[in-house]
Each structure stands twice: as C-alpha cells, then as structure tokens.
Amino acid sequence: MDAAIREREGLAARLRRWLPALARGRRPEALPVTLDRNRVYIVPTRAGLGFGVLLATMLIGALNYQNNAALLLTCMLGATLASSMLLTWRELHDLTLRSLHADHGFCDARLPIHLAFADDRRARPGLHVALDDIEQPCPLRAGVSRATATAPTESRGWMPIPRLRFFSTLPFGLFRAWSWITPDQYVLVYPRILRDGQPPAHHDDPRERTTGGDEFAGLREYHVGDPIRHVAWKASARHDHLLVREFERAAPGQPLRFDWRDLPGLDRETRISRLAAWVCDAYAAARPWTLVLEDRRTLGPGSDAAHYHHCLTALAELP
C-alpha cells in the first residue's frame, strides 16, 4: 500500500519535473515574454472531467429515451461548457510579462515580486500565478498592468527567480489553462534573521574620536570640510601638510559594533543570521552601527538605509 502510494508520488513528482521540461518556457529567457498560442496549455480540471462524465450520461439517456428535447438541452449544455474552454485559454493568451523586479527579502520569508504586464486593456480577472507551486491570485483589471506575487526563499544569496506558472480556470472552473515563464533574472535574498541569541556584545570600544568634542585626543591629517579653527597651525608648520586637532566625547548615539568574532562557537550560517538580526534591530532603533566581517572588512559606521542594505548585501553575499 505504502509502496504503491510512494510509487504514485514518484510518478507525480517525475511528471512535475518532466512536463515543464517538455514544454516551452523551460529555459530562462529575457523579458518581455508574450504567451502566444504555442505556449498556452489547457486541460480539464477534475470538475471538468466530472461534467464530461455527466454530459455523456445525459447524452446516452436522451438517446435511449429518444427524447429530442433532452438531447437538444444536452447539446446546448455541452457546447456551452466546451466553449468555456476558449474563454479559459483567452485568459492567458497574449499575456505579456514586460518586466519584473523583486523587493529585498529575507530568507524563509516570502519575497515580493512585482510583475509588470503589457497593458492590452483586457481584463484577466481569473489570472493566478504560482511560484514553486505556491498558487496565488494575480487578477488584472482592464487597463491595470501591475501585480505582485511572492516567492518562497530557501537560502541567502543570489537566487534565480523561480519559474512562474500563470494559470486560470475562469469562467466555470472546468478547464485550466497554464503557461510557464522562466525569467532570466536573479534576486538577492538577505540572510535568515535569528533573534533568539545573545544581544550584541558590549565592547569597551575606544571612545569615538570626533572633531566636535572638548577633550584633546590627538592630531590627524586635514580633510576638506574640517573647521578651520581646529587646524593645529603650529604642528602643521612642522609638517608639509595641515594637521587638525581631534577631540573625544561620549556621544549619545555611540555606534554599535557588530563583529564576526563576537560570535565564536557558532556555525557560519548562524553567525550570519545573528549579525543580520543585530543590523535589523539597530536600523529599526535608528542607532548607528559598524559591521565587521570575517575578513575584517569594516562597514560603517552609519544608520541610514543605504548602510543597512549595504550591510545586509555584504552578509548575503558571504561565501
């Protein structure tokens, strides 16, 4: 029994793998892609097969009782249901996916993918899209050409956009038309967020050196934009370039420091996830932070969106 089920499952899985391979839309292709008649497939649904059996029964009954009124009714119903197939097909036919772009998303969460279609002013109220067999409605009203779908994510890093399966069962749910599009596009998936671990280790970091404090800390080279009154003229005279005085102070928004080495004893992915969680929390709290990676690459400090995405991208792209 179990073996039989497993065998069937295997068959189903094999079909699922093979069918797209036999059909068009299997190779990644550049957008825009138009679903022409060569790549829209259609089969009856279970309900459709049921209605087929029903129509056959009605036909045999009407013929047997030599009842022409019943036969006419059966023909009318049959022709109507069969022609609904064309409407189902029409839901997909000529659909043009012009472009898509994905938002940034974290691993294990759904990744929103924004689809832009060519506006052919035709309503497609029954359009669905499935990404990795997660079916979701993406209805298009007449004159509307945008929709959003979500894709599941399994690992951080650059992920090819999964094959999109567009389908519809409109108008009667008796037929299902579908087509595949595999866009030649990648999206960056940010690392998984792990929050259950320790809070960021508090370092006794050297106090931040700024030019704005009041306690003298030392000299450094002049950069454009440094206040002219901080220039250490005497010291500068001894060198061949200008030096400015630096001061220290305990700033209220003292940058946090997230260091790869602060998380010893954890595996690589967990470390990355922890760091990502810290970055997210700091960004949410609007506190500046510095990220130090495995290879001692230091990002920051900073607290703006660019810095946030920069850090997460760096984490996601780690080998």
Partner: protein
C-alpha cells in the same frame, strides 16, 4: 491519488462557498423544483422549496453546518415519502421526485466550492430529466433558460466578480449559451440516433392524459377539460372533411358490466374486419399522434386499411402492438360515406353487440320493450324514439354531472337526466341492446380546430367524445351520436374546451392558442419528431440517399473540429478598437489648430520645445500656452495613471483655446 499539481490542481475546490455563489445555487435548485413541479405532489414540492428557503436563511444568519442527523433524516424521509405517495421508488415520477429530494439534501451539505459544483452537475441532470415528461416547445425553452442560473453559479465559484451586482455572474453563461447555439444545433442534427433503445425505455402505463380503456360515467370528465394536444391531422389536398363528418374513432367498447364499458373480448379477436362498401373517393391523411401511452390509434370514420405494423380489429379500430410512448406519424385512408356489413352481421359479433348484464336497470329494459312492441320490426323507428327522448325528455348536457347510483342507466334516464357524451352514448347503447338492436360504444375524438393557415386539423384532448353505432339490417353499422340530440346545454365553468356538442365554452384565449399551435406543430415535427429515419435523409440535398452512422460521426467530428477552430480564432482576436487616448487626441487637436495658423510641429520636435516655440511666436497668448504645456507634460510624463478629471479639464482648456494669427 494525488494528481500532478500542474494539470489537475485542486485550486479552488476546497475553499468555502461564498454567499453569492450559494445564493445562485439556491436559485438553481428552486428552478429544478419548478421544472418538476407539474408532476410532483404540490405538498412535496412546497416542503422541498421550504427546506431550500430555510437552508438559505440558516447559512445567511448562522453560517454553520447543518446537523448530520437532520441530513440523514431527510435522506431517509425523501424515499419514504415518495414510496408512500407512489407505492414504489421505481418509475419515472417516483424517480424524479426522489432525485429532486436528493438535490435538496445535497444543498444542505454544500459548504465548499466542490460541493456546489457537484450540486450543479446533479441539477443539470435533473433539469434534463424534466424533459422526459414534456417535450413541448415552451417547456423546453423554459428548461433551457434554467441552465442560466446553473452556469451563473459555476461562474460565481470563480474569482473576479463584483460583490454586489448579480448580472455579471449571468453574463458569461448567457453569452456562451448564445454563441454556442449553432454548435449545439449541429450536434443535435449529427449525433447518431439509436434505432432501438439500449435498455427498456417504455413509458409506464400509468394513467396520465389521454383515454383509458374503460368508460364509466364521469371518466371522460378530466379529459374534456384538458386542453393538451392529442393529435394533428393533415389532409391530402388540404381540405378537411365536413364538420359533421369529423369523427375519429379510437376504440370500440363492446362489453358492459352494469357500470362501465370496456373493449371486451370481441374487440381483440383476430377476426377479419368486415369489408367496407365505399361510395366516394377515399380521404387520405397524415396523422401525428402525440404519446398516449395506449395501444389505440385514431382514424377518421371509417378507416379502409391499417398502416404498416398496425392491426385492424374486427370493429375497424387500429391497434398498435406497442404502446404509443412517443409521437408517431402514420398515414391512413378512410371512407366518409360507407356501408359496413349491410347484409349479414357475423353471429359472434351480433352476440357481443347484444350482451347485457343481468340484474341491472329494469326501467331501461322495460322502456326498450315498449318501444319494440310499438315499432314492430322497424329498428330505425326505435332509434328515432331514443333520440326523440333525449331531445324532448328534459335532458341536459352538463359536464358537471351528478353521480349515479347502482342502476346507473335507470338513474340517468329517469332521474338525473344530466350528463355528457359518455352518459348519452352509454344509455343509448344500452337501450338499443335491450330493444334487440346490435349496438356498441365508440370512443374517439370529434370536431377539432381547422388551422386554415397551415392546413391541418388540431385535435385536443378536450375533443374527446363517445358515440354509438347500431347495426340496422340493409344499412349495416350506422353511427348515431345521441349527444347531438340533446337540446339543452349548460356551459360548464371548468374552463375546459368541451367541443362535445360543437363548440361549447372555449375560453377567450383558445382561438389564439389554436392559431399558435402552428409553432408547436413545427416543433413537434422538426425537433421532437427528428428520429433515426429523418436523420438518414439528412444529407439528401448533398446527393447522399442514406446517411449511415459512420458518415454522421465523421460529419460530427468535422463539425466539432471546425467549431473549435472557429472559436479559437474568435477567442484569439485582440480587442480591435483600443480605447482612444483622450490626452493624445487633445494634443492632436491643439496641433491641428496651431498648424492652421502656420505653427507646425516639426518632425522630431519634442512637446516641450514645441510649446516653447509656440509661446514665443504667439506672445499674446503665451501664459495660456505655458499653462497648457505644464499640464500636458505633467499628465503625459509625470503621472503613471493620470486622474481622468484632469484629462477632461485639459481637454476643455484645449477646446477653449483659440489662437489668433499674428499679423507681422
């Protein structure tokens, strides 16, 4: 089994049934009940409809499942009620009643889209079965329209419908039904018919409409108030027989048991009918007899010969070996002026035509004896005496006849004196037999409506009639219609047609019904009567004498292929007229106006540059032009979906802008 997710997804099957779809499902079920209401007991229909209404209310206000016990109880109650009414769960009427009940049970448990789809399929099947009871044009159209709520329900199970309006759900189904009518007709024409049924398809012999094989006082009453069509007759030459000759004999009743007349043994004996003496050219005609579920076939008095496959009895009645469960067509020749067995009456028939039960109706026997004593050997005088009695004896024609006691003939002749054709035929025949004159009762139709437009005689059930035939030496069997002798007629208020005495009380719309019967006749001949034989001749116009099933099948396959191809072509058409871009139109209008005064937009000149150049050339209206420019650029390039009211405002501004030529 888990099917591959790609072709056979379960998407949508398990989701909860939304209120709009559920409401439409309730309407569909009510339609099915309405289609079957004519042959179900009224209380049964009413209870089922009430359950549908209660279920609708329950799901609207409580949104819970119906208890399983209630459903199981109903599942038991439906067949029980049907058996209680009909005595059996088998047969056409009980079967229809049971499936209607089961559909209502299905509605009670419909909570998911999948249930609703099953219920709709079931409903379509039951709708079709309603046509087994009535194949009329009007009813077929009504049942066809009842497909619309079913299709609307299927549509409402799919996404993309507005919540509040009801029409969009119907739109797809209605349009598709209309578009696929030609394909449906092709299928209807080409689907090969079965020459013989696969399984027993005889109608059950229950009394429905039409004549029964028995005539007791009052039996014909329901028939005389029934306006259903019994048959249609087209005469060769397009001329019907005279009104007084329009007697269509069905069966002859020989045997009387004191209460009811029956065909008796004499009617079915395989004796050869007596030869007919014919005086004038025969009347030939085609009969279309609607299903009567009896063996009798009707022919104008007196048929000369039986159509093929039909037996003519010794009393010149036509008897089909199979019951007539479908509309049949046959062709008969009859003699209107005839002599039947004038010289000698077969002694066996004579005995049957004189038999009377003992111990009944002493009064009538005494009266007949008095007439016999007075008339001596003159049988014709006795006939005249009896007709005079009905004419002058205070007899009344009334469909609302009182019930009669055990000696029914005596009670009628001397007491009630009120009745209709069967009372008179029965009493007259009894009197004749009592007086020693061979006599028999004939039941059939009389009169009818001559449709002068389409040249056919329309006979309704209400034209049913009973009369007598007496055998007179030297003249043979002579038809006597004692009802015609009655002088006083009370018009019954039953709304029936009762042409029994030549007209009577036809309701005001009856003439219209008679005229419109042309359509029903056309329907009956071309659609209902389209059988294996007619199908064989389908390709005659193309030079093919006999179309075989294979040829029909090939033609059907070609038709399906062409229809699908044509449909695909239609479906792949792009919307031809794209909605006009109002903004572009306004801009074009402005350019046209400016071109008129000499400012032509150059090829490759962007709108911004064009506006700027115009503003410098028409310095008077520069502010207006600049306003237009800002607005146009914003609408065209800054906004993804510009609000329509701003586009309209821009359009107005362009319309109101009248640039004037600059005189240099």
């Amino acid at each position: 089994m888990k099917a591959p997710a790609i072709p056979l997804g379960t998407h949508g099957a398990t989701e909860e049934l939304a209120p709009p779809a559920f409401n439409l499902l309730c309407i569909t079920v009510l339609c099915v009940l309405a289609a079957h209401a004519p042959h179900m007991p009224a209380w049964y229909t009413a209870i089922l409809a009430a359950i549908v209404a209660a279920r609708w209310w329950q799901r609207r206000h409580q949104r819970g499942r119906v208890s399983a016990w209630l459903r199981i109880g109903l599942l038991v109650a439906v067949p029980a009620a049907v058996i209680a009414v009909y005595g059996t769960p088998f047969g056409r009427e009980p079967g229809a009643a049971i499936v209607c009940g089961l559909l209502v049970v299905k509605l009670l448990e419909s909570e998911r889209a999948r249930d609703a789809r099953m219920a709709i399929g079931f409903a379509c099947f039951i709708l079709m079965s309603a046509l087994l009871f009535d194949q009329g044009l009007a009813f077929t159209i009504i049942v066809g329209l009842m497909l619309l709520p079913a299709l609307a329900t299927l549509r409402a199970l799919e996404p993309g419908l507005p919540e509040t309006e009801w029409w969009p759900a119907f739109r797809t189904g209605t349009a598709l039904l209309g578009v696929s009518l030609p394909a449906a007709l092709l299928g209807f024409l080409l689907i090969p018919r079965l020459a013989t049924p696969l399984w027993g398809a005889q109608g059950n012999g229950e009394a429905r409409t039409g004549m029964t094989d028995r005539m007791a006082p009052g039996d014909l009453h329901s028939l005389l108030t029934d306006n259903a069509v019994a048959m249609r007759i087209g005469f060769d030459g397009g001329v019907p027989p005279q009104k007084s000759q329009r007697y269509f004999r069905g069966m002859v009743l020989w045997s009387f048991d004191g209460r009811a007349w029956e065909p008796g043994a004499a009617a079915r004996r395989p004796w050869r009918p007596a030869p007919l003496g014919v005086h004038d050219p025969l009347t030939r005609y085609d009969v279309t007899l609607l299903a009567s579920h009896r063996h009798w076939m009707f022919a104008l008095d007196m048929p000369v010969d039986a159509p093929e496959g039909v037996v003519m009895g010794p009393d010149h009645t036509l008897w089909s070996s199979k019951t007539i469960d479908q509309t049949v067509h046959y062709r008969v020749a009859s003699a209107v002026d005839y002599q039947l067995a004038p010289e000698r009456l077969d002694p066996r028939l004579r005995a049957a035509a004189l038999a009377l039960p003992d111990g009944f109706d002493p009064g009538a026997r005494a009266l007949a004896e008095r007439w016999r004593n007075a008339a001596g050997n003159n049988d014709a005088a006795i006939v005249r005496d009896a007709l005079a009695l009905f004419h002058d004896g205070g007899f009344v024609y009334d469909l609302d006849a009182p019930p009669l006691d055990r000696n029914s003939i005596d009670d009628f002749l001397f007491n009630t004196k009120t009745g209709f054709c069967e009372h008179y035929a029965s009493a007259f025949t009894f009197l004749m037999r009592a007086a020693g004159i061979p006599a028999r009762v004939v039941v059939g139709y009389q009169g009818g409506y001559w449709n002068a437009f389409a040249h056919y005689l329309l006979i309704r059930q209400s034209d049913a009639h009973a009369w007598s035939e007496v055998w007179l030496a030297g003249r043979g069997w002579v038809r006597v219609d004692p009802t015609a002798a009655v002088s006083r007629v009370v018009l019954a208020d039953t709304g029936g047609a009762a042409s029994d005495v030549g007209g009577g009380n036809r309701s005001w719309w009856m003439p219209w019904q008679n005229r419109l019967d042309v359509i029903n006749r056309w329907w009956g001949q071309t659609v209902v009567g389209f059988d294996a034989l007619s199908q064989e001749h389908l390709f005659r116009p193309f030079g093919i004498e006999r179309a075989t099933a294979q040829m029909l099948g090939i033609a059907l396959a070609i038709a399906v292929f062409l229809a699908l191809g044509f449909g695909a072509l239609l479906a792949s058409l792009r919307p031809r007229h794209k909605p006009r871009d109002a903004l572009a139109a306004a801009q074009l209008r402005l350019q046209k106006r400016l071109a008129h005064i000499g400012i032509v937009r150059g090829i490759g000149e962007g709108p911004r540059d064009f506006y700027r150049r115009t503003a410098t050339e028409l310095s008077d209206s520069a502010p207006t032009i600049n306003r237009l420019a800002v607005e146009y650029l914003a609408l065209r390039y800054a906004l993804a979906e510009p609000p329509p009211e701003r586009i309209r405002a821009f359009l107005r501004a362009v319309r109101n802008f009248h640039p004037r030529r600059v005189v240099k």
